[in-house]
């Protein structure tokens, strides 16, 4: 029942007038709230020029916001790549023919999906800077405390998101028609070869939207680095806010930056999803079977998106 039109009759003149009234009332309530907030902000001097002019100076960007954004993107990018690699590897292990391997990777995945990312970050960070053995190891490798926070952020992100990606890939393989596997086996491939060269590549393509949505989750969660003093965008924003005494303005700007990045990634995922749907529909000779496959694929994509990205991390 995705079509909105199903929920209500096509409005007649009276209903249209009523809807207009609701629309106006709703807008007024929202504007009222906005005005209350703005008055409060104005009373507290949040609209003084000194709070906002720093954003016109290049120092604000080159010293605080851009280095912070760079650190955020660095951690996110490294985490995305590693999560994809480990996630696909975990999926392979979880679909293995060896029961102990399947079992062990299953426990690993379920465990790290249940533990908050922040807990893993704090653990890795404190181990790297406090645990005697790890401290010696860090010294030998020539790594500093600053490296420790980066490693901790990436480790936390990768452990969680690799587990999630493993499940997305498994969902994708599960949604493929059984004939794919059977055809592979019947031309003499081993079941590992079938997974590697037939099932997983198709699963990755059909799950591309869900995988891209996971990038949004990773980018958002990289902000947890703030808590373990990784100098990402939020930490820099805090420094900027105390340097210019414009905390509120600084955080609003940081929020806009995050929203723009994540919104762009979400739109990319939606675009790819739409393109895939069109492509499947355009396949020559696509009869009833193609439609079934398409529905199965959509269901699977919906399920994966629903379970992970739509649950809030």
């Amino acid at each position: 029942m995705s079509a909105q039109q199903v929920l209500f009759d096509i409005p007649g003149p009276k209903a249209r007038a009523r809807h207009l009234l609701y629309g106006v009332l709703g807008t007024l309530v929202l504007l009222g709230l906005l005005v209350l907030v703005l008055i409060r902000m104005a009373n507290r001097g949040q609209f003084e020029a000194a709070k906002w002019t720093p954003f016109l100076e290049s120092n604000t960007w080159t010293f605080y916001l851009l280095p912070g954004l760079l650190a955020t993107l660095q951690a996110a990018a490294v985490a995305v790549v590693l999560s994809m690699v480990f996630g696909i590897a975990l999926a392979m292990l979880r679909m293995s023919d060896l029961t102990p391997v399947r079992w062990a990777s299953g426990v690993f995945v379920e465990f790290f999906r249940a533990v908050p990312v922040l807990i893993m970050m704090i653990f890795t960070w404190q181990m790297l800077v406090k645990n005697p053995t790890m401290v010696r190891l860090m010294d030998t490798l020539g790594l500093t405390g600053a490296n420790a926070t980066f490693i901790a952020v990436v480790t936390g992100l990768v452990l969680y998101n690799a587990s999630v990606i493993c499940e997305i890939v498994r969902n994708g393989v599960g949604s493929l028609p059984g004939g794919q596997r059977e055809a592979g086996l019947s031309i003499g491939l081993s079941s590992a070869q079938v997974r590697r060269s037939i099932l997983v590549p198709q699963a990755l393509t059909s799950m591309l939207p869900a995988l891209i949505s996971q990038i949004v989750v990773i980018t958002k969660d990289s902000a947890l680095g703030y808590i373990i003093t990784y100098p990402e965008l939020l930490s820099r924003t805090r420094q900027l806010g105390s340097a210019n005494a414009n905390t509120l303005a600084a955080y609003l700007v940081a929020a806009v930056i995050f929203i723009l990045i994540n919104y762009a990634i979400t739109k990319l995922a939606e675009w790819i999803e739409g393109r895939q749907r069109r492509k499947r529909r355009g396949t020559p000779g696509g009869g009833a079977t193609t439609q079934d496959e398409e529905q199965a694929g959509q269901r699977a994509v919906g399920a994966a998106l629903g379970a992970q990205a739509r649950a809030g991390g």
């Binding site: 029942m1 995705s2 079509a3 909105q4 199903v6 929920l7 209500f8 009759d9 409005p11 209903a15 809807h19 609701y22 629309g23 709703g26 807008t27 929202l30 409060r40 507290r44 949040q46 465990f111 249940a114 533990v115 908050p116 922040l118 807990i119 704090i122 653990f123 404190q126 181990m127 406090k130 645990n131 005697p132 980018t219 958002k220 990289s222 902000a223 947890l224 703030y226 808590i227 939020l234 805090r238 806010g241 905390t247 509120l248 955080y251 609003l252 940081a254 929020a255 995050f258 929203i259 994540n262 919104y263 979400t266 919906g302 629903g306 379970a307 739509r310 649950a311 809030g312 991390g313």
Partner: protein
């Protein structure tokens, strides 16, 4: 292990996470339902409000929202939830409610989407039938659509609750003394027992989230609308 749990009051710290999750979940359900109704309503301006709320909140990191609640709403705009006078715990209590505020507005966006996916499980015939017996939008929403949407959306709502329970750890960013705070303390004083401490905390979260997952799959099977 037991002495570590007792020495650092692990259970007390987890209790704060549970309280944060419980209060935020109830409030997020209320706000999320309101936003979902906005998104389903026949008024396009209200649709737009709902959609904008979800887009903005879903794309903002929770850490930013919670830190903003503390540094922005409280310290800059002076929004306080508990009386300041004669209250030695003022900062702790206020931070609790600021964290609840942040968790609520963030997860309400996800609850809204979960309810909408519940609405998607309802066959078209249900709302057509509601309209054909003369129910208006509000009536059919109240009597036919939403009750079935909640039942059909139990699994996604349960997923949001699991995410919410895990996300209560972010409240440490504004000084709430919950389990992430306690874990940092513990690892600071007992760096030798790091792995044990991690396992205690991690297993605590498994214990908290596992029943929710099992409970929602049991509930969604039990309450599924028979069709």
């Amino acid at each position: 292990m037991l002495e570590l749990i007792e020495q650092f009051n692990v259970l007390g710290a987890f209790w704060l996470n549970i309280r944060l999750a419980a209060v935020s979940f109830v409030l997020a359900m209320v706000v999320g339902t309101v936003v979902a109704i906005l998104r389903l309503a026949p008024v396009s301006v209200l649709n737009w409000f709902g959609a904008t709320y979800v887009t903005l909140l879903r794309n903002t990191p929770l850490t930013l929202i919670i830190v903003f609640a503390n540094l922005g709403l409280w310290l800059q705009l002076g929004i306080e939830f508990v009386p300041r006078e004669n209250n030695p715990n003022f900062i702790l209590e206020n931070n609790f409610w600021l964290a609840v505020l942040g968790l609520t507005v963030y997860h309400a966006a996800f609850i809204c989407e979960a309810i909408r996916s519940g609405v998607n499980t309802i066959p078209v015939g249900q709302s057509e039938a509601a309209r054909s017996i003369g129910l208006g939008f509000g009536q059919s929403l109240r009597e036919v659509i939403l009750p079935q949407a909640f039942r059909g959306g139990i699994t996604p709502i349960g997923n949001v609750l699991i995410a919410l329970i895990k996300n209560t750890t972010v409240a440490v960013a504004i000084g709430n003394r919950e389990i992430a705070y306690q874990m940092r303390n513990m690892m600071e004083f007992r760096p030798d027992a790091g792995i044990l401490i991690f396992l205690i905390v991690a297993i605590g979260f498994v214990i908290l989230t596992l029943p929710v997952g099992l409970g929602t799959s049991w509930l969604s099977a039990k309450l599924a609308v028979k069709r």
